[in-house]
Assembly symmetry: C2
Homo-oligomer: 424 residues x 2
């Protein structure tokens, strides 16, 4: 089965929207063992849409069309498909009723423009959308089934999962027997990871891929076929041996997700005192439901005054060593832990840039500490030539990794390829 995707909408083509639907879709299909072979993004010009539907319908078996089903005048997917197929648009009675119900149920008045959303090409099969006002539909043209989906991300995702995947499962026999494992790495670039793994001889059907997801590079181990799947453990062991401490999580999207799971499992509690990371540690954890079970509090102690008053950092420590120092960040962590007697506290203090660096402590210098009930671990890292956001997100990742290693009873301070440390 040859699958393609057509993304419509001036706002997507013109870069007003980053097209997260396309990435999500390809990723979701890949996990079912189906590769999307080409993706075409076009604007809202009627003749461009008609041309691309006609052109690709002779090349692909299935084309997912995303967007252009909304109520406004620049939503033209239905009309373009009707023209491409040479048939009229007709009002779908079932969907018209659903629209009336939907607005009544949500206590809203239907705008005139929403009526258009019940118009689909005459030969189209209507596809249900239980969470929005745009129905999907499927039309056969030339070699291809064109499957039209709404642009709103959560409507699109639900339609793909509940309607599109069953649809292609029924129409085509989807290649099964695929498996995917993901490893999140920290502190090495893509080419040095690739060089490190070059010696692995990959069996037929197994591929290794890399994706940059700052501050991480994710490694994907993909296997197609039973024989390949049975080799995965062996390959994984080789990857782990070659990369050592660079791997910081398995099958997780972020280190925060890993910490969230580990803290919930362990029943331990955490506080954070953040300066340069400025709320990132707390915010990344709180984005996971259930974080109130372990997160006592997060303090963004941005000013020196706040470090003294809230955390009990000694003014002499700030005077003698500066805000960005091992001494200060250790007092911050100990102070933050003590306030609510948390099991752990993480603290950061650094120079995120782009200004504020000195010769001794250039932009990208960050001190990080982890306080436990029995002591405090700390390190001061160097992140030169990184943007402000990257300094902050890398520092957050290193802080999380210190806590992760402590929770797993491993050495807390380790070397990460491209992240250098100041020697104490």
């Amino acid at each position: 089965m040859k699958l393609e995707m057509i993304c419509t909408g001036e706002e997507v083509l013109a870069g007003q929207i980053v097209d997260t639907n396309a990435a999500w879709f390809a990723n979701a299909l890949m996990e079912h063992g189906v590769e999307c072979q080409r993706r075409i993004t076009v604007g809202d010009r009627l003749q461009d849409l008609v041309a691309v539907f006609q052109e690709r319908s002779t090349e692909a078996d299935v084309i997912v069309v995303n967007g252009g089903l909304g109520p406004t005048s620049d939503d033209l997917s239905s009309e373009a498909m009707a023209l491409a197929k040479g048939e009229p648009l007709v009002e779908n009675k079932v969907w018209r009723e659903r629209l009336d119900d939907w607005f009544t149920r949500n206590g809203r008045v239907m705008a005139e423009s929403n009526l258009k959303q019940a118009l689909i090409p005459e030969s189209a099969i209507m596809i249900d959308n239980p969470v929005g006002t745009a129905c999907g539909f499927a039309v056969k043209l030339n070699r291809a089934w064109l499957f039209f989906t709404p642009g709103v991300p959560f409507e699109f995702k639900q339609m793909v999962k509940e309607q599109f995947i069953p649809f292609i499962n029924e129409m085509f026999e989807i290649a099964g027997d695929v498996a995917l494992r993901k490893y999140l790495t920290l502190g090495q670039g893509e080419s040095s990871l690739a060089d490190a793994l070059e010696t692995i001889v990959l069996p037929e059907g197994i591929t290794i891929g890399y994706r940059s997801s700052m501050p991480h590079i994710e490694i994907k181990l993909f296997a197609r076929g039973k024989a390949a799947i049975s080799e995965m453990d062996k390959i994984e062991a080789q990857i782990r041996f070659l990369l050592g401490t660079a791997i910081v999580a398995n099958n997780k999207k972020s280190l925060a997700e890993e910490i969230h799971a580990l803290l919930i499992d362990s029943g331990k509690t955490l506080s954070a005192a953040e300066s340069c990371t400025g709320g990132m540690i707390a915010s990344q954890l709180i984005s996971h439901a259930g974080s109130s079970a372990y997160l006592d509090q997060g303090l963004v102690t941005y000013s020196n005054e706040s470090k003294v008053k809230m955390l009990g950092v000694k003014p002499e420590t700030l005077d003698d060593h500066g805000a960005v120092s091992i001494a200060t960040v250790e007092e911050m962590a100990k102070g933050a832990r003590a306030i609510l007697d948390s099991d752990y506290a993480l603290a950061t203090s650094g120079i995120a840039g782009p200004t504020g660096g000195t010769e001794d402590k250039p932009v990208g210098t960050v001190a990080i500490a982890l306080a436990t009930r029995s002591g405090v671990y700390s390190q001061m890292i160097k992140l030169p030539r990184r943007s402000r956001d990257l300094v902050r997100s890398l520092s957050t990742a290193v802080a999380f990794d210190m806590l992760r290693r402590e929770l797993l009873d491993e050495a807390v301070i380790v070397d990460y390829g491209s992240i250098k440390r100041f020697q104490k």
Copy 2:
């Protein structure tokens, strides 16, 4: 000039990377008055790349090709272009020397694989990349100039700004006389904004576009041609009249950016006490360089104990009214402001979900307060049927808007179309 973009890379096609380069590129070109007419995303298969280069080179005048210039075996853009053109790859001496220098300068050893990055098609013009190891190049094929660029975002952006835009400026006469204004809105959906603005009669050359950038919808007013540009003030006045309080910022990417500018201008200071927004208020401000000038501290007081101990919220207030209440959030804001005697403090407390709701206070109930030197403003809003992240980001936006309105001496509490309030 007909401009297209080809994005290469299995990781982009397969959704392992969200293609932010494509959006950024189209946006940057649009601000120069050039529209990208089609974007095609293909994987790393050599024959697919050759086919798409040959096919599109007969349709477009300029094609920007992004990605596939790296050192690994799946980086095939150079090789595919050489095949498409029917010529060999040759080592570019200038670039080979630059590679040697680059690694020496950065104190790193060049991996064997990097040598490949100096190979470009014989007829190609090398394009400098001062910030990375992949040079760009330009090749003429059929009707089109193909302009090859690296996938690393900051290398790509620098090459587009410093090399590509001057390149097309020289080759083609770029249509000048374009202007773009952006308005950030809060609390109304795209279709209700579009319905509200439907009565505006747009002069020739002016278009209105919408882009969803949760928790906001951004309105773009685009004018092409001197006559159209001279009409923009009039159209803007109509948009402002029709949308009223829904517009919360001009030509800013986020409300945080607006607050950052307003606080720096006013010389006022801010503290935050966040519960459900969990660090988002502080973190969004700290992502802007210079935030240390006004942000005293941010407290993520997630537990009741933390609200009492850090902010001085009375235990009886929590007992009588609950953590999510006007009474609690007002005490949080007053307490947070008092600690370092900040000019303002924002406080939030709510139920972000997906669980934790009650009949009285369902998921999406959020109390928000702004404390000033002279008093406290508060409201409790309802955000039903939103995801956890959206509840948090909408609450952050409403909190910022309260502060924005206070700083501009406007009424602090206003109605936002789709965001309902609990009556006190």
